[in-house]
């Protein structure tokens, strides 16, 4: 029993141990240098990532409230990897920050929440885990302690998450009322498509929509992304969104399969609205973080298309896309975070002539942007292709035509950024940036991921075999 408990909850337990280590480091008498502290923490995170690959076992715990299997372990490994990359990237920013252990404590608490969320097999467990992941995130948004925008972002974040949690809870309570159970498998058996169930389902989708910032629930995204520190923004846009998407996919396909006609239509409308509006807003952005925020909204629109597809291809393409998205979006955020930490510049016009001074970083940025735009040979191409192919599987060619044309629109703003970096003249471009060892590792991981996960089919085939 104890063995089971230890092995099945391995990912969560490792993170808890790291949390305690951080606590002791903070409370201890020794004054730590930021550099050495960051090195220690990054080694711990690396160990955490590595631990995900050992002692694999599937099963359930706590009266079926908590489950784990190969797919869930894989998803957790993905999130671990993303967190590790973000931690490496934020080295330059945290180096001069006064509260390094606190930052990591909050970060790992949210990660813990997400792990529980992915593993949840019970809707109340899911809700608890979601809250555990959301509240530290709001505190993290406030982590540029002397900036007003940062606290504004945190405030907006906490209010909008409270609102969406309210919607979710209302939906959950109605669902409980109509099905009489909180366990996912039993809910699936008791669904009969009654109007009250549909209503509760719509509330649930709205709650999810807030978290993944699908239009029309996206309004908090721009401000929060802009105000938060870059590390937190990238965490929000990749890790937090990815975790929610994993749960979303499995809940839709496993629990609400019998209502699929209802959610098919809802997702159809949501995805079109999300793509179009995300793209249109992204066209006009001048702040890099805001720009990436809106482009990530548009990406969610594409992901929703994948979800509308048939189950195996649909969920495989979504999970695969999240993997690709971790590499490509973090690649882009990595450069933004470097430039922001070293020079404090975050506007698009500051990047004019970036290629003249930082050719290598410009290429990394360009490759990440190509991957986000879905240009071969980057992994983004394969990700987008499979999403749209999954969406077309149900025969809805209107949807994928709109999506394919939206990809062209999104290409405009990605190429525009490339134009700014490579072609525009600037008398005072960003000076040459010396990249530290840790961010360099992060960049290498991202570029390697972008180039390899697409051209080598192993990742997709593995994911497909897991969801099948």
């Amino acid at each position: 029993m104890l063995n089971d408990f230890l092995i099945l909850m391995k990912a969560e337990l490792v993170i808890t141990i790291i949390l305690f280590i951080l606590l002791f480091l903070k409370l201890g008498n020794k004054e730590w240098q930021n550099e050495s502290l960051l090195n220690i923490i990054n080694i711990l995170l690396l160990l955490n990532l590595a631990s995900g690959f050992f002692f694999a076992k599937s099963g359930t715990l706590f009266g079926d409230m908590f489950q784990t299997n190969e797919l869930i372990r894989f998803e957790k490994n993905m999130l671990n990897l993303g967190t590790f990359i973000i931690s490496l990237q934020s080295y330059d920013w945290l180096k001069n920050h006064k509260h390094v252990p606190e930052f990591y404590m909050l970060l790992l608490s949210t990660l813990l929440g997400m792990f529980f969320m992915i593993s949840s097999n019970n809707i109340l467990m899911f809700y608890l885990a979601l809250e555990l992941s959301t509240i530290p995130l709001a505190a993290l948004s406030n982590f540029d302690l002397d900036k007003r925008r940062s606290s504004e972002a945190a405030f907006k974040m906490i209010i909008s998450s409270a609102f969406s949690s309210g919607l979710l809870l209302f939906g959950i309570s109605l669902l409980y009322g109509t099905t009489g159970t909180l366990n996912f498998p039993e809910i699936a058996q008791h669904l009969n498509g009654s109007p009250l169930q549909i209503f509760s389902f719509i509330l649930l989708i709205s709650g999810f929509g807030f978290k993944i910032s699908a239009v029309p629930f996206h309004l908090w995204t721009g401000d929060v992304y802009e105000g938060s520190p870059v590390a937190v923004t990238s965490y929000l846009s990749v890790i937090s969104k990815g975790a929610i998407l994993f749960v979303f996919v499995s809940v839709l396909y496993k629990v609400f399969q019998s209502l699929s006609t209802a959610w098919y239509n809802i997702l159809f409308l949501l995805s079109i609205a999300t793509m179009v509006i995300g793209n249109l807003f992204a066209l006009r952005q001048q702040n890099m973080k805001r720009f990436l925020a809106f482009s990530s909204i548009a990406q969610v629109g594409f992901i929703l298309i994948g979800i509308t597809g048939q189950s195996a291809e649909g969920s495989a393409s979504v999970i695969y896309f999240v993997l690709v998205y971790i590499f490509s979006n973090l690649g882009a955020f990595g450069i933004v975070s470097l430039v922001s930490a070293v020079t404090g510049k975050e506007n698009m016009s500051d990047y004019k002539g970036f290629y003249k001074t930082n050719p290598l970083l410009s290429w990394v940025f360009a490759i990440s942007l190509f991957s986000l735009a879905g240009i071969p040979p980057t992994a983004g191409f394969f990700g987008k292709f499979f999403l749209l192919l999954a969406g077309a599987g149900k025969g809805n060619y209107l949807l994928i035509t709109i999506a394919a044309l939206n990809m062209v629109v999104s290409l405009y703003y990605y190429l525009n950024l490339i134009k700014v970096m490579f072609m525009d003249e600037n008398e005072k471009p960003v000076e040459k940036i010396n990249v530290n060892k840790l961010p360099k590792i992060a960049i290498i991981i991202c570029v390697a991921g972008i180039l390899i996960t697409g051209l080598a089919s192993g990742a997709y085939n593995y994911i497909y075999s897991l969801v099948k």
Binding site: P376, F385, L389, A392, V408, L411, L415, I418, S457
Partner: protein, 498 residues
């Protein structure tokens, strides 16, 4: 012979460039790479001939099939027939000439040659693909390098042109994607969908499905080959691009579209090709006439060639729309011919521009006295463009006209006559430009100091001229190469028409 070498070699050479900084080292490596791929293509041609001489009648030769994405039945499947071989040959000529022409590229030379080689890998990959996924992959692969080539090394309103080109071509490929997805989900091979061209070829796809997805695929590829009204990227893109990129763009990249229209749209959806042929012919005729008349009004040499490219690519679409063996052979010949001819023309214009720093016809004059070699190249390109016998343009256009006339029916005859009439217009603008630029007194005294072509430019131009004349004087070898491939297409079409 493993065809993937054609993709791997340019990529390998491109990666080899990365550690070097000096222009001299970079261009030497790039030239070696271009030469190697040129030799590789000649070897491919010889091997292909050998196989055919040994009565190997398989539709595709040198096939290789590797599983790529097993759950989705996506394979990396390569193989060539006569049409692909001629396109590959064209690519190798243009790539070698392009590298030679950019010999003195000072600005970011490493990146420039890297992108050129990358682009050629995309083009080769496209022409050898027998799987629609890889075909689409390579089609998109060949777009973004063009954006960078034009945007960084271009002239004039380069950012605008680069963006316009990239967006329109990606819009085209978005449509292609929808067409391919439609095909994919309407194939059923043992209960599985397939992207494999050779498998889809043997299926009977329902007519309704074909009629729905043919326009997506055809217009999508048509954007690449300047199908009216999606041609507007052509003049801006060509005129802003640096010389080598213009040569690539007009010489190879527009052919991607023509090849796709033929190989994917027409070949796999013959019912729909038949259904829409009238529309295709009308659009092609508009493109031919519109392109020709628009050229008459141009004063910039690059614009002249760009608009005339629209007109010439109209012949390709006309040949495809006519759906007869001769016409389709003519269309492919026109692709090869136009590729060589327009690359030569852009090379000549680039050489003139490098020396005189103007491309305005009115400011040039009497270049024959100053730089006889370049002028001769210019004249040859012009004459080929207007279809003088002895050059490839004549052979290709003549074949298209004969093939078009083979269709009984007043509509087809009128279309042929309309297309023929454009040649007169072509003669007007070509002769006028040639007369102004080449003949007459030297327009400015400082032109007298200009040098004639250097060895690399001479080599590049001679290479392309050899290609043009080889087709112009002895077209039968090209015809023999294409004939088995077009026969297959015609067989598939004939089963519908009867």
């Amino acid at each position: 012979m493993n065809l993937s070498l054609l993709v791997i070699l340019p990529l390998f050479i491109a990666l080899l460039l990365l550690p070097f900084k000096q222009l001299k080292q970079v261009r030497a490596i790039a030239l070696c790479g271009a030469l190697l791929q040129f030799i590789l293509c000649l070897i491919l041609l010889i091997l292909f001939w050998k196989e055919r001489a040994n009565d190997n009648t398989a539709i595709m030769l040198f096939e290789n099939n590797y599983t790529w994405y097993a759950p989705l039945h996506i394979n990396y499947h390569t193989g060539v027939d006569g049409i692909s071989v001629s396109m590959i040959l064209l690519t190798s000529f243009v790539v070698l000439a392009g590298v030679l022409v950019s010999w003195n590229m000072q600005k970011f030379s490493k990146e420039f040659f890297f992108l050129l080689l990358f682009l050629s890998a995309g083009a080769y990959g496209f022409f050898i693909s027998l799987d629609l996924f890889t075909l689409f992959f390579f089609l998109e692969l060949a777009v973004i390098p063009k954006f960078l080539l034009i945007g960084i090394w271009g002239s004039g309103k380069k950012e605008y042109s680069a963006m316009k080109l990239a967006l329109m071509l990606m819009g085209g490929s978005a449509l292609v994607f929808v067409g391919l997805a439609g095909l994919y989900f309407n194939t059923d091979i043992n209960g599985q969908h397939s992207f494999d061209l050779m498998q889809i070829m043997q299926l009977k796809i329902p007519t309704g499905v074909q009629n729905l997805f043919f326009p997506f695929a055809f217009i999508g590829f048509g954007v690449f080959t300047a199908l009216f009204p999606f041609h507007t990227w052509v003049p801006d893109g060509h005129s802003s691009a640096p010389t080598a990129a213009s040569m690539f763009l007009a010489g190879i990249s527009m052919k991607l579209g023509g090849y796709g229209c033929l190989r994917v749209a027409t070949f796999l959806m013959p019912d729909a090709a038949h259904h829409y042929s009238t529309l295709i012919i009308i659009l092609a005729c508009i493109a031919i006439l519109y392109g020709a008349f628009a050229t008459m009004m141009q004063t910039d040499l690059k614009y002249i060639n760009a608009y005339s490219s629209i007109s010439h690519c109209g012949f390709v679409l006309l040949g495809i729309g006519m759906l007869t063996k001769t016409a389709i052979t003519g269309a492919v010949m026109q692709m090869v011919s136009h590729g060589l001819m327009t690359a030569l023309f852009f090379a000549a214009i680039g050489m003139i521009y490098d020396r005189t720093h103007t491309r305005q016809v009115a400011q040039l004059g009497g270049l024959l006295k100053v730089m006889p070699f370049i002028s001769a190249v210019f004249v040859i390109a012009g004459l080929c463009s207007l279809g003088l016998p002895g050059f490839s343009g004549f052979v290709a256009e003549m074949t298209v006209f004969v093939g078009s006339w083979e269709n009984a029916g007043r509509f087809y005859h009128i279309a042929t006559i309309v297309a023929c009439a454009s040649i007169v217009v072509t003669a007007v603008y070509i002769l006028r430009a040639t007369g102004q630029v080449i003949m007459g007194p030297v327009a400015r005294s400082e032109y007298n100091l200009l040098r004639d072509a250097s060895w690399n430019e001479k080599l590049a131009a001679s290479l392309l001229i050899i290609g043009i004349v080889a087709i112009g004087i002895a077209p039968f070898w090209l015809n023999d190469l294409l004939s088995p491939a077009t026969d297959i297409i015609i067989q598939k079409l004939a089963s519908i028409i009867k």
